[in-house]
Subunit: 333 residues, 2 copies
DNA sequence: TTAAGGTACGAAAACGATTTCGTGCAAAGG
DNA sequence: CCTTTGCACGAAATCGTTTTCGTACCTTAA
């Protein structure tokens, strides 16, 4: 900048103003300065700018994988991807924040503060981690995905409605004995379970306790075992809901091993709508969560709050998914 | 820091020294200062530090997805994950860099410079993009994965040897008619093709031209079509190499549609060793690339170069994978 | 006792930008 | 012709660190 000032015979103040499009600078000089900036290959130093303005134009992402495979979970990976795209479109970079800053375990909040991040998005984390609680209680602009904190913005997938829709769809196909292998206990699971029971109740289906069992999310082996348990029941369900699309790999194998066919002998549905669901054969019937919008809106809302802290109130936005009709649910009767 | 200085009745210089463990400060005051820092909840401002020291302790990641699904490609996602872990262990954060800085398309290099990044890792990109070339030609510490640039560090997966091993394995199982559906043309593909042909030649196998065909990486539909072509040949191969594990979903379906069984009627092998390969049934025989080490070493080498620019020379490191024996290759004869 | 050397600390400049406020000048108005 | 207004620009402070260099004091040795 000093060089530009020298080159154009003006002061650095003027250069700064010209570069930032402030008024208070003559049209002619302004153009000359912009010209010179290009000429000299000027790149603003964002550290200096951050120091002065307290704005870094970078957003922290909490993406801590419990099972160390978050990147490999298409649902989260996809949200992250679209979050990134929208953030970059609006001029923000994204940075992962971990629990430690350097060698010391200081927590997410310290990490975000030290980096001077403008805001934080919690995409994938253990929401009951005290470190996360600290973060939530802070005054930083924050948005969380798939978990609604009090008085903080959140973007939520419509887990309850999604589950209800799936049940209704399967019901429409004539199924009455419906089992559900749900994932580990989280807010998401809670919502899906509620949706499941609500729809069943509304449709007059009674669900035996043995029909609702648990497995680990995204873990085919665990789902394989759970499916096996269900198949061994005296009165076998006609349709099984898996915790997620990926687990279906384990589940369907358990079915094949029992000598049954899909969907002729038993129907199955997944949840998520990952790419693979459309590729496998038979194509999986599932609920497709709208990761494109989930990620995009999360970035949009967070940045909105960063840029207009006074006028933006925390809100919870729910994004609707859609039924992905595959070939794994048979029409009964 | 000013507060700490006031609190302890010393100057900011002394505080800075104490905090950074410089000598030149009394043992007693040093402890008092550290105490006070904790007390007051001091967090260093990294923008100010960066401004002064020209070090940000953050690393840029080029992770640009050609097909917009890089996050969803387990190979890249996994490398990124382990890269991140190692980088964080060493006190570096990671930030994605895009082609634009803010609204203007300035290229990766400008982006990295503006942010003052200490180094850049190219994990996933179009290596022939002129923007990438600019980056490579710069004086920034850089490491690239799966593509070796002149006079720059690179971490490479042993594609040639991996492919050779696979061919030898299949040969050992009695197969002589081996087909290969390779991916789009890249350096990686090139290496695998070389390995394939070399092994075949060494083993005295002649490969008909029709046996080597192309599909898109990570695209089951494309692989489905290619497989169909191979199955239609007058002299069908006894074993098909797919471009990658994920494409196998399409390939195996094509085989099933032709009324054939795996591995009884035809054998198949994949490449990558993604999680799914061990989960599907039959388990896929494939070459497992060591993404753990690829990511870890990449971070290690890059940081080494950042911290000791004089003594660290650019080098190319090849990481060995291993054969993952599944159930999709049958013993012939 | 005095000079030399070492130790603990502080003053101040610097990093590269932004921003406030003041100043000079030209145009406009009385 | 004088005053007021508005515009274009610059001087300088500032953001929070690090780092150089100077200084005061205390030891040690001659």
């Amino acid at each position: 900048m000093k060089d530009i000032a020298l080159y154009c015979g003006v002061s650095v103040s003027t250069v700064s103003k010209a570069l930032n499009g402030r008024g208070d600078v003559g049209e002619a000089t302004k153009e000359q300065i912009l010209e010179a900036a290009k000429e000299l290959g000027y790149t603003a130093n964002s550290a200096a700018r951050a120091l002065k303005t307290n704005r870094t134009y970078s957003i922290g992402i909490v993406f801590t994988d419990l099972s160390n495979s978050g990147f490999m979970h298409e649902y989260f990976a996809s949200m992250l991807n679209y979050f990134r795209m929208e953030a970059e479109r609006r001029g923000y970079d994204i940075t992962f924040i971990s629990e430690n800053m350097g060698p010391t375990n200081t927590g997410y909040l310290q990490h975000a503060r030290a980096r001077g991040l403008d805001g934080v998005a919690i995409i994938c984390a253990d929401f009951f981690d005290p470190m996360i609680q600290d973060l939530i209680r802070s005054d930083l602009p924050i948005i969380s995905l798939d978990h609604a904190f009090n008085n903080r913005s959140a973007i939520l997938s419509d887990n309850m409605r999604g589950m209800e829709s799936l049940v209704r769809y399967v019901y429409g196909k004539g199924h009455r004995r419906i089992a559900y292998i749900h994932g580990n206990h989280t807010a998401v699971t809670e919502n899906r379970l509620t949706g499941f029971y609500r729809a069943c109740e509304a449709l007059g289906i009674t669900v035996p306790n043995e029909y609702v069992t648990e497995c680990e999310y995204h873990e085919p082996v665990s789902c394989h075992a759970a499916t096996k348990r269900l198949l061994a029941l005296p009165e076998r369900p006609t349709c099984i809901f898996f915790s997620d699309d990926y687990s279906y790999i384990g589940g369907i194998n358990a079915i094949y091993e029992a000598g049954l066919r899909v969907p002729e002998d038993i129907s199955i549905v997944g949840y998520d709508g990952i790419h693979m669901a459309k590729m496998v054969s038979p194509k999986l019937t599932t609920w497709q969560q709208n990761t494109v919008e989930l990620g995009r809106i999360a970035a949009e809302q967070l940045i909105e709050r960063i840029e207009h802290p006074r006028t933006t109130l925390p809100k919870h936005i729910t994004v609707q998914g859609k039924l992905l009709e595959g070939e794994t649910v048979r029409q009964l009767g």
